[in-house]
């Protein structure tokens, strides 16, 4: 067995048999089970409504133009119900798995022993990352299998397209959790003890998922500045003669010219475009925003691209949707690449005395 595989094998078994993994996986399964049951119930209701609407259209009771068909609810809807809260626990699981991988070895004194056997130093970190990735995939696989089982319990048989979308959703979920696993792995290499590594991992998690989104609006305001002022109405006072002895003065607004309005709209469009560009950078920094966008687009039958002034575009195929959201996908891939890269370089140069 190649040394990387030997390390990965041990790490995988250590993870999946550890109390922290089993407790957090159990919590994920309980929450996903509840969400799936609720989601399944909602889906059935939506399906009933759909069928009723369809028969009403056919009978002509609703008075809708001929040829109109309402969109059929997707069974993947039930995944969106479980989505985000599961992933929050998943992030905690990923951090719990990674924060002491290297620092723990140093603290125990097992790192020197491990390195004295015939393997290269990078076999250790590669094996640990692979073992962690496999354990996270195992957790997601169990949740996905449970979800599919619930679908079948409700009598919903997913199509090939649905199964492919579920597969893509599982890959995205693994990638999202691997972002935080690699962040905590990096922390465990940088920090000399596991407590500090855990603190650093949590600080990075909070910064990326809460602090940056929280301050991004204010920073965008500062960068982009105030929105353009709308053109002011010119007011002309008009004297009218009243029936009484006193005369009334009635203000009358003068209409804004088309040129002025067009100029304002142009400036406003430019302002929003600028604002969107800056906000997009902050959004790309937040792994959870990227994951949310990608996963909800994957699980929805259609994806609409829109902007305050832009045209709405409808995207249908999963690959077309992913292509539309390529920036979010790249941002989600860049995180583990960078953090794992830092961990790798730091580990290779680590003083093992």
């Amino acid at each position: 067995m190649h040394p990387v595989l030997n390390v990965a094998r041990k790490e995988f078994l250590d993870h999946v048999m550890s109390k922290r993994f089993l407790i957090l996986l159990a919590a994920m399964l309980v929450i996903s089970g509840i969400s799936l049951m609720e989601g399944g119930q909602d889906y059935k209701e939506q399906l009933e409504n759909y069928k009723e609407t369809l028969s009403a259209i056919e009978s002509g009771a609703l008075g809708v133009p001929p040829g109109y068909t309402p969109s059929k609810p997707s069974p993947l809807f039930i995944f969106t119900r479980m989505g985000f809260q599961i992933m929050t626990i998943g992030v905690i699981l990923a951090i719990a798995m990674g924060f002491d991988l290297i620092s723990g070895e140093r603290e125990r004194g097992s790192l020197k022993i491990l390195l004295s056997h015939p393997l290269f130093r990078d076999d250790v970190i590669n094996g640990k990352a692979l073992g962690g990735l496999l354990a996270l995939s195992f957790a997601i696989l169990i949740i996905i299998l449970l979800s599919v089982a619930v679908l079948l319990i409700f009598g919903i048989v997913p199509t090939i397209e649905d199964l492919f979308r579920i597969f893509v959703y599982a890959l995205l979920s693994i990638l999202y959790l691997f972002v935080f696993f690699s962040i905590s792995l990096m922390a465990s290499v940088i920090m000399k003890n596991s407590t500090n590594a855990l603190i650093l991992s949590l600080v990075l998690f909070i910064t990326l998922s809460a602090f940056i989104p929280m301050i991004s609006w204010q920073i965008t305001d500062k960068i982009v500045g105030e929105p353009p002022e709308p053109p002011k109405f010119k007011v002309v006072e008009i004297e009218t003669v009243s029936t009484s002895s006193e005369s009334d003065i009635i203000p009358k607004p003068v209409e804004i010219s088309d040129e002025e309005m067009q100029e304002y709209q142009k400036k406003m469009r430019e302002y929003w475009e600028r604002r969107e560009r800056v906000q997009e950078i902050f959004d790309l920094l937040d792994p959870s925003t990227n994951y949310q966008r990608l996963s909800s687009a994957t699980l929805s039958p259609y994806y609409y691209t829109s902007s305050p002034f832009g045209e709405v575009e409808k995207k249908e195929g999963i690959l077309e949707i992913l292509w539309t959201l390529w920036k979010n996908l790249v941002a989600l891939i860049v995180y583990p690449v960078v953090t794992y890269g830092v961990a790798y370089i730091k580990f290779m140069r680590m003083d093992v005395r």
């Binding site: 030997n6 041990k10 550890s18 020197k112 022993i113 004295s116 015939p118 290269f120």
Partner: protein, 336 residues
Amino acid sequence: MMKIGGKLDKILKKSKNFYIVLENFSSKMIKTVKLTKEYDGVRAVDSLNLEVKKGEVFGFLGPNGAGKSTTILMLGAMIEPTSGTCYIGDFEVTRNPIEVKKITGYLPERPGFYDHLDARRNLDYFARFYRMTEEERRRRIEKVLEIVGLENVRKKVGEYSRGMIQRLALAQALLNDPEVLLLDEPTSGIDPQGTLEFRRIIKELEKEGKTIFFSSHILSEVREVCKRIGIISKGRLLAVGTPEEIQRQMGEEHYRIIVEPFPRTLRIDHDDIIKIEHDRDRAVIEAKSDIREFISEIFIENRIRLRELRLEMPSLEELFMKVIYESEVEEDASSS
């Protein structure tokens, strides 16, 4: 006939020389050439030249922070030297780290294992790196556990005592039946009984022909198991040889001359004299060189009859304590 005989003689002579070179090379199991390691500009090991023969138990003695562990880490291919080279067997360590690791076993100063696994599962993890079959691994693990006396222990390593951890660390170092054992302070922190047991195991390994590089800061420990010793301080090798040879090497800078009788009124002036201690009619002169001839001339001039004039070599313990004292003084000075 003469011509053929001459040629044969030449060939035999050449092959004999080749054999001598080959024997000389293969008889050295550990060799370092100007081995140096720097950490943040500070030399932890400074131009270390050392040779250890095959089957030898070599003691590497020095105070804490002298560079012993760093040397062992370089020999075991766990860290790379800043400059210089080291060899294990026929392999240059930096160029053949995996080959070196295959023929060495390493016991670190403070060993640690995976607490949630028992000894067998810990050892099985390490044994898999040697690509042994399952049966080979099982047999080897039972053998090494028997050597260190842990064959009947089934509990998890997290419940082990310090001594048991140390034994398990030796077991893992023996997993690959290594030719060279690098033991870094192997008896530190274990009880006297455990220490005795450790010495017994090392002597048995010596009988098996293993080359053992044994580092320690305890002189008595090293003396007990090693025939040759190297003393290191501040990264530099101060002396190397048998305890007697080291005494001579290190004692050269520190002469103690016993003179009896030595009248308190007598004045002796010599640049090499460090101090004179009087004890009744006897004096102990500490000097930088052997000045016995000079002393005897003074006594003859003063018409004093000498009963005793002899050179006393400081013991190895005294010399080693001096090394430790000097390194501590230097450490205090640098920290203040």
